[in-house]
Amino acid sequence: MAQIRSPLLHVFLLAPVFYLLALIGFPILYNIAMSFQEVTLGNLGKLMRPFVGLDNFREVIADPTFRKVFVNSLVFVSVNVVGQVSLGLLAALFFAETFAGAHFLRGLLLATWMLPGLVVGALWKWMFASQYGVVNFVLAALHLTGGPIHWLSDPAVAMTAVTMAHVWYIMPFSMILIAAALTAIPQELYEAAALDGAGPIARFRYIALPALKPTLLAVACLVTIYSMRAFDMIFALTQGGPLDSSNVLPLLSYQFSFQQFKFGIGAAVGTFAVVFVFAVALVYVRTVKHEARA
């Protein structure tokens, strides 16, 4: 077992870990540090800047835009979690049935997840167009709406539009993860339950659901993390507008930094997002590690 402790393996382990610490860990800490500093275009390149305590945070919390966007983010993330986990579970159950093409069709859905976020945004912007968009056309043809819906320019609807597009984009990925856990449940359990007289609903309720619980929790965490990353798609669709109605925290942070050049404020908004994502990540890591050990 001498080779197991060889120095080469430790170099192999540390190289990627240091890479990630340098290009993600350090920037995140740098961002947190900036949120306590007064950052101007003039001192942007320096590490030491005037320390301003919680001033940036006070300004952020007093800003009604921030409060609106904070609530938006919670809505966006939770609708995504509920939508993707429930639709993903339904789709996974459907494709778990034996029929011709089940695996192929299920795999094909993953095409949406492979697309660049910007393409997804551009595509849905075209489909959501008020006058010539195909979404309004289909809704009108089915007599579901009275007049055209201004999907992206009506502040009351923009968040719904953005959320729908994002659920469409990532749901197949959630479904694939749930499907994998579903296949791992031993078929004998179902057969035994069927012999005992359990119907399909009882079998789902008492066998599939308990077995899937850790996976569903992990998927919910992953969806939260993915949804907090939904920058490209929203940037292409609405830029967070109109009136920040479809804005989310990472995008707001980016806008403060690169459009208003208020880097300290942007960093403070970012710190809120970092804390939120980090908390979810802890739950995720606990779930995954627990699963791996079991």
Binding site: L20, G45, F104, A122, A180, A194, R203, I225, F278
Partner: protein, 282 residues
Amino acid sequence: MTVGRSTFLSKRTRRLVFSVLGFAGVAIYLFPIYWMLISGFKSSAEIFANPPTFFPRAPNLDAFHSVFVQENIARYLLNSIIIAVPVTLLTLVLGSMGAYAMSRIRSRLVDVALVVVLLLQVFPEALIATPIFIIFKSMGLLNTFPAVILATTSKTLAFALVILRPMFLQVPSELEEASYVDGCTQFQAFWRIVLPLMRAPLLVVGAICFAQAYGQFVYPITLLNQQHLQPGSVGIYAFIGAEFADWHRVMAFASIYVLPILAIFLLLQRNIVSGLTAGALK
């Protein structure tokens, strides 16, 4: 779950109904991709036709022509590839090193490393972009491809490590131990015995990382402000930034841009799905 439910529907009818429903459902779900692909073949009059045509009435290549001639899409695509190829290679090298080490070292160090990787992969790029911009600015790296390549690899590498680790765990270490008896060094064992066995998983991870790097938007738009350096994602963004857009041209641009990704996906669909199911939650 099909046991005991085939009382009034025969098994065959049931399967047929599911096939038809499944096919129809997937067709509706993927309709937006179809809509993108056909919109580029419409004329500037037909794109705004009401009711819209679900198959181009007079398919033509005008939009594609203008995207190549006026928008210089070739330049954008070349830049996307110049960024995505090194990201993929760097990710595969660092990813297979790390995943191999994680599957062979038996100490708490691996647990710590794994938790660090899992925690670091969650931060949105939009938040990392600002500090990366400042750091790279002071290093004089702005407006260079290496800046975007280094930053993008941090995203793909974490993903690759998570997916590859369980794959490397499946390779029995007896194979390497036998080679040590024959006088192989650890590096030779990794290079000549383990890596060739990992060809399929590395292909899957490489394909996904390539797609992610190829579609990357946040880092290029933050770190590159010269048009001749910008990749396809930024090209599309510039195109739809205006209130009014020539949608047939935008969709032609988008179709050409995603073609390599869709091709890779269709070729490797089976492997990508099984790779994700084996690795993504372990």
